[in-house]
Amino acid sequence: MTYSHSHLLGIEPLAPPDITAILDLADQYADLNRRDVKHSDALAGLTQINMFFENSTRTQASFELAGKRLGADVMSMAMQASSIKKGETLIDTALTLNAMHPDLLVVRHPHSGAVDLLSEKVNCAVLNAGDGRHEHPTQALLDALTIRRAKGRLHRLNIAICGDIAHSRVARSNIMLLGKMENRVRLIGPPTLMPSGIADFGVEVFEDMEAGLKDVDVVMMLRLQRERMDGGFIPSEREYYHRYGLDAEKLSHAKEDAIVMHPGPMNRGVEIDGELADDINRSVIQQQVEMGVAVRMAAMDLLARNLLARRQAQTGVMV
C-alpha cells in the first residue's frame, strides 16, 4: 500500500490505505528509533524547513528530530519573531522560502486553512503541523499508531475524546481518522466546548463523563487552554476538574484494560489527575511522544518519495 498524496494537509482527504501506509512505515521507524544507531538516509540531500507561526516546543522538536534521523538538512524558523512583524504576508513568506528550493515544508499557523493556502503557492511537499482549529494530522496519526500498538488493532474500538472539542484541531483530526478506520467515537465535554453541528459528524456526544466512559477501550484527554478557564466557557477550573477531569474513579467506568492518552502539554489537576497520567499500566502518554517521531519520519519519507517520483516524471531523468 502506498500514500497517494503530494502533501499532508489533513486527515480529511486521506483514504484508509493512505493512513495504513503511513502507520506501517512508522512501525518500522519506531523500531529503528529504539536502536543505538538511529539513522537512515531516506531524506539524504533533501532540505526540510519548519515554519512555526505559533509557539511550539514539542511538535517542532519532534519534526526536527524526525528530519535529522532521516538525513535531511533541517532548518527551523520561529516565524512570529521575523517576517510577520515586518508585515510580510503569508504568501510572500512562502514564495521567499520556495525560492530556496526546500523539499519538505512543515508549517504550523494560528489560522485555519493557512497551510492549505500556502501549499497552493509552493512546489514542495507541505506537512500541516497544526492550523488554527482545523487539523493536526500528524497528531492523529501518532495517536492511531499508539492505539494500534497498544490494542493490536485500529478498528472496532470504542474511543472517547474528552474536553475542549470546540477549539481543538487534535479532536477534529482524530474524529476523522478514527471514523475512517471504523471505530466508534464518543465525545465528552460541557456543551459550551462542543462545536456546532457536531451530531452530524458520526459521533456520539455525552455531557456526562461517567456515562460517556462506560466500556470504552481508549480515553483521549484534550488540553484545556488557560484562556478558556476564565468563566467564558466553563465556570471555573475546579468545577471543570470535578465534572470532566480524568481520575481513577471516572476511569473505572471504562474497560479494565482501557488506555489513557493526552496530546500534551498536560494541565495536571485540571483535565487529568497527575498520578493517573504517570501510571504506566494505564497511561500511554510517553509512547505517544515516542510514536510522534516515528510517524513524522514515515510521513516525510512517503511525501519525499512522491515528490521525487513527480520530479522524475516531469524531467524524465533520475534525480
Partner: protein
Amino acid sequence: MSILFTNARLIDPEAGTESLGWLLVKDGVIAATGSETAMPKADEQVECTGACLAPGIVDIGVKVCEPGERHKESYKSAGMAAAAGGVTTMVTRPDTLPTIDTPEVLSFALRRANEAAPVNVLPMAALTKGREGLEMTEIGFLMDAGAVAFTDCDRVISNTKVFSRALTYARSLGALVIAHPQEPILSEGAAVTSGKFASLRGLPAVTAMAERMGLDRDIALLEMTGAAYHADQITTARALPALARAKRNGLNITAGTSIHHLTLNEMDVANYRTFFKVKPPLRAEDDRQAVIAALRDGTIDVISSMHTPQDEESKRLPYEEAASGAVALETLLPAALRLYHAEDLSLPQLFRAMALNPAKRLGLDAGRLCAGAPADLVLFNPDTPIVLDRFKLKSKSKNTPFDGARMQGKVLGTYVAGQPVFEAP
C-alpha cells in the same frame, strides 16, 4: 429624438407580464409600448429579434471605492461594469475612506460620479459620523446634497439610544434608513455560519440566529419611532417570520437580500476559497431556499449585488483574515437568471426585485416599462450560455465567486435615458 425597440420580449414587473411587442422612447422617456400591430415611426429603430427588454436594474448598496481606494474601483470602472451588467442606477454606499458623512464629501463623490460614470449614480450617506455609531450625521444637509438613504453599511449601531434617536430624526425628514440586521457581539470576528461545515473547517462562526436577533431589535425600534427602514440583507429562514409580521403590522419596513445568498451556500466555500467570503457569511441550503420563497411571496422586496471590490492582496490571506465582499455588478443578472432557469422566479418577478421595488423604495420613477417612466432599459438574451472569466470583468477588482462558472444570460445593450451606455460587441 426617438428610438423604437421592435420585436422585443417586454418584461413588465409592474403588471407582472412578459409579452412580445414594441417600445417607443422619446426624449429619454418611455413614450408608449404595444403589441406588433400599429407600430409608430421613430428616428431610430432597434430590432430586438425576440430578446428581453426590461427596466434597467436599480442596485442598492454598490460600493465604489472613491474616495480613498481608487485602485480597487473608481466611478468610471464601476460605471462601466454596471452598464455591462444592465445596471442603470447604482445606489452607492458611504463606507469609503473617508466615510461619506458630510455634504462636502458627498458632493465630491457625486461630482466624480457625474464626470465618470455612464449610468445614474445616487449616493447614500452614513447615518452616524465615521460610521462609528455614536453621533448622527447632518441628515438634512446630506439630503439637500443628494443623499437618497442613510446607512452605516455592515456596521451595526449597537448603542440603541443612538440608533433610536437617529431613526426618530430621520423620520421627521422622511429619510430612508438602511441597516444591517445582526447581533453585533455574536457575529464579531465570524467568518462563516455555525454548523457542521464551520466546525469541519475550524473557522470562527456566527449562528444564523444572530440575524433574527438584530432584526427583532430593529423592528422594536421601528415600532417606537415610525421610521422608514430597509434591511440590507435578510439571508436566513429564522428572520423571515419576524419580517413578515412587521410588514403585516404596517411598519414602514422593506428588506433586501444579496445575489450571492440567493445563488450560493456555505458549502461553496469548500477549501477556504476566500472569494466566497461575504458579509453576512453564506448560509445553509435550507436558508437559501427559504429566502427564494420569501422573494416569491414578497416578504423580501429587493435583490442587490452588494458589489464590494477587494484587491487580490486582501483576499490572498488565510480565510479568517481575508477581506469580505465580492464584485457583482456584471454577474448580478446572469446569476439572477439561474433562479429563472431553475423555475424559482419568473422574469417579471426578478425585475420586480431588481428594478421596480428598489426604485419605489427610493421614490424613483425608474423600474417600470410604462409611458412616462425614464427610458433606463436593459436588453438581454436570458439563454445565451457563458463561462465567466474574472479577468474580463470591467471592475478594477476581480474578486468574483463566479470565476469559471457556467451561467446563462448575456446583456446585449444597456440604455440610460434612451442613450446606449453599453452595447455587446
